[in-house]
Amino acid sequence: MKAHRKQPLYFAFLLHRLSGLGLALFLPFHFYVLGLALESHAALDRFLHWSELPLVKFAEFGLVFLLALHFFGGLRLLALENLPWSNRQKNYAAVAFAVAFFVACGYLLRAI
């Protein structure tokens, strides 16, 4: 990685962009699975049964983490752009990351 990018708020940018990209790529799949309900209960159930696999549970944890990361990181950006300037952007970015991880862990604990 280029030296000038090695600073916390670049990583905050990168995480926001990559989490957004990940979510955008996941959405068609998400919509497809829910759309299975149009066919039948059984079709949706077959898929949901598959989601009991530990690996899938872990992938779900990843998705919840991405969503929470994009959400809390996005709140920081909305505040940065719309409220009077604060110099604590690194702190806010770190808090956003920590809270997102906490939320995703909460999900994982209830899922297993």
């Binding site: 979510l23 209960h41 949901l48 989601s51 959400f71 996005g74 999900y107 899922a111």
Partner: protein, 111 residues
Amino acid sequence: MVELRLYMAQRATAAIMAPLVLLHLGVMIYAIQGGLSADEILERTRGSLFWGGTYGLFVIAVSVHATIGLRNILREWFRLRGPVLAVLCWLCGAGLLIAGLRAVVAVVGAP
């Protein structure tokens, strides 16, 4: 002023989705306990005006928001410009919107 419009749309949809995402995270954490089943999901959503409206709005907002975000990536990381970029973005936005609304109909509409 294309970029200003896109910026406004991006931030407006972000603000609309903020409470919806919070709700979505909450429902996920609540509903995942004991595993998911089609009955459990559909019982909650079928025929519900509230979930229909909420998920409908969510899908419309996310289609706009995700498309603008992807446009930034295509522009900045893949150097796409002009008609190629525009066509890809419209396809992506329309695809997300149609697939999303179909999913809303699937879980909210009557069986």
